[in-house]
Amino acid sequence: MPHTIWVLVELEDGAPVRSSLEVLGKAAKLGRAEAIVLGSAAAEVAPILGQYGAEKVYVHADATYDNYLTLPAVETVSALLQQHQPSLILLPTTYDLRDIAARLNIRNNLGLITDATDLMLDADGIKATVPWGGETIVTATLTQRGPGIVLTRPKAFAVEQFEGRNAEIEHINPSFSSAARTIKILETVVVKSEGPALEDAAVVVSGGRGLGKAENFQYVEDLAAVLDGAPGATRAIVDAGWLPYSYQVGQTGKTVKPTLYVAAGISGAIQHLAGMKGSKYIVAINKDEHAPIFSIADLGVIGDAVTILPQLTNEIKRRKA
């Protein structure tokens, strides 16, 4: 019997989010992937999940999930766990799924591993790879039999295509307790930015405290623009109020995995590296030759970011012309 792995698929604007599809593909490689899709768009999304690896999809097309956070999904997945015993619930670390996982873990006495970058599943159970700090890597497992939860790092897996796979679809109709409707979404505000989204950009140019002052972040934006990339930031300058939190790259910000990452005036703290170490090429500009960022840079430039950034923007414009 192959292991059954559940993936709770997150929806945004009526479509599955990329991180859910990444994890679904991983689940399909580990065993029998079953998706759970909840929300008013669930019925439309369900049929396409086969091509991303799902053999079965549980569907509850109900707007309660769109209007109330966390608790409706916790109730529904818990109800499903009363009927079925998957080996594993695999979830990408996103804001909403993290909140759901924390409660599912307790409510169903599951056991939970966070921040995994890879995992294996065999007769002995789960073996999850978890990076620890900058230098250590841990292999962790769950101590009890029965389902457990593994939360994975964003972008740990690529989206896979399973040509011709058609998922069996089961409509479920769980009822909600009144407690399910306690966290009400009153409004969702999208803060628009130009250019590609930070998470999806092929090029990310990030700035840190070494830029000296908020106005100099313009040089980061200019370079990002000529490279068709997105600007990013360290927590230091987000905390300083130079930029909104949506720019933050790192452990408590976004994880990016672009082809090119340019780090300007960034020291390279472990928490920042956690969000960008997976980039294909890293170019760092820092005044201090001992800055930790240089130890992971493919090209390290010892110099003043405020001088070099505008020169580089011009140089690229010239070469592209």
């Binding site: 307790i106 409510r107 250590t136 101590t143 082809t259 010892i302 140089e315 592209k320």
Partner: protein, 261 residues
């Protein structure tokens, strides 16, 4: 209103490289300097501001940890928290997010809480699983990633950071609220605060005080186990150049060589 802020002592992120002991597979806590989690400092600051705004409220710092964690609670008191509780018991060593949430929730239940503040995630464990776990044990909602909080009667309304912007969400009280890092300006302890902290109450609780069996928590109760510890694959450093006026050209050439332009 009775408000609590859950805080934790962690290895100083500015000096310590967090290490795991190969034998016990636990975080090495000896020989490293321990501090109040910097994330919790900003959560405490948010909680103090809210206590003062709501008025007629008490703010209590709650921590679970070894006896040394008293230092962290002292700092919270110096920052302006009214009193503190430290849950400490040898059986708690090696607790996972499940037992930590269980123990903290038991103390909160005993005390009675209207509002519970946590950081979104801790600096050493960064599971982010404890706040939601507390909420589940108490059967109350959790409002996460708050960057702005409004309390109106028995309701909490928060601006919740999301990747694309923010959401405004609302729930009844009691509730657990987690603060998004960097949302609130830190309050620093003043000399007066530090002196005053000495007169504030710091209560210790044990597992027996909470009616929790030692076998349920700590290593004995853990749902997860570390099988092995290895070295992370290091990303090799590349070429380092010094800017002699030509850095921009050299970077552009690098980008062209790897077809990044």
């Amino acid at each position: 209103m009775k408000m609590f802020v859950c805080i934790k002592q962690v290895p100083d992120p500015n000096t310590a490289i967090s290490k795991l002991d190969p034998a016990t597979k636990r975080l090495v806590r000896s020989g490293v300097s321990l501090v109040l989690d910097p994330g919790d400092e900003s959560t405490i600051s948010a909680a103090i501001k809210l206590r003062d705004k709501v008025g007629n409220s008490e703010l209590v710092a709650l921590s679970m940890g070894p006896a040394s964690a008293q230092e962290a609670t002292r700092r919270a008191l110096a920052m302006g928290v009214d009193r503190a509780i430290l849950i400490t018991d040898p059986a708690l060593a090696g607790s996972d997010a499940f037992s930590t949430a269980q123990v903290l929730a038991a103390a909160l239940k005993k005390e009675g809480a209207d509002l519970i503040f946590c950081s979104t995630e801790s600096t050493d464990g960064y599971t982010g699983m404890v706040p939601g776990g507390i909420a589940e044990f108490l059967g109350i909602p959790q409002l996460t990633f708050a960057r702005e909080i409004t309390i109106e009667g028995q309701k909490a309304i928060i601006k919740r950071v999301i990747p694309k912007g923010y959401q405004t969400i609302e729930s009844t009280l009691p509730a657990v609220i987690t603060i998004a890092s960097g949302s609130y300006e830190a309050i620093y302890p003043t000399m007066k605060g530090i002196m005053g902290a000495k007169k504030k109450t710091l209560t210790q609780m044990s597992l027996a005080d909470l009616g929790i069996a030692a076998t349920q928590v700590g290593e004995a109760g853990a749902h997860e186990r570390v099988l092995s510890i290895g070295k992370a694959e290091a990303r090799a450093a590349g070429q380092i150049i010094k800017d002699d006026g030509n850095a921009a050209q050299q970077i552009a050439e690098f980008l062209q060589r790897y077809q990044l332009l």
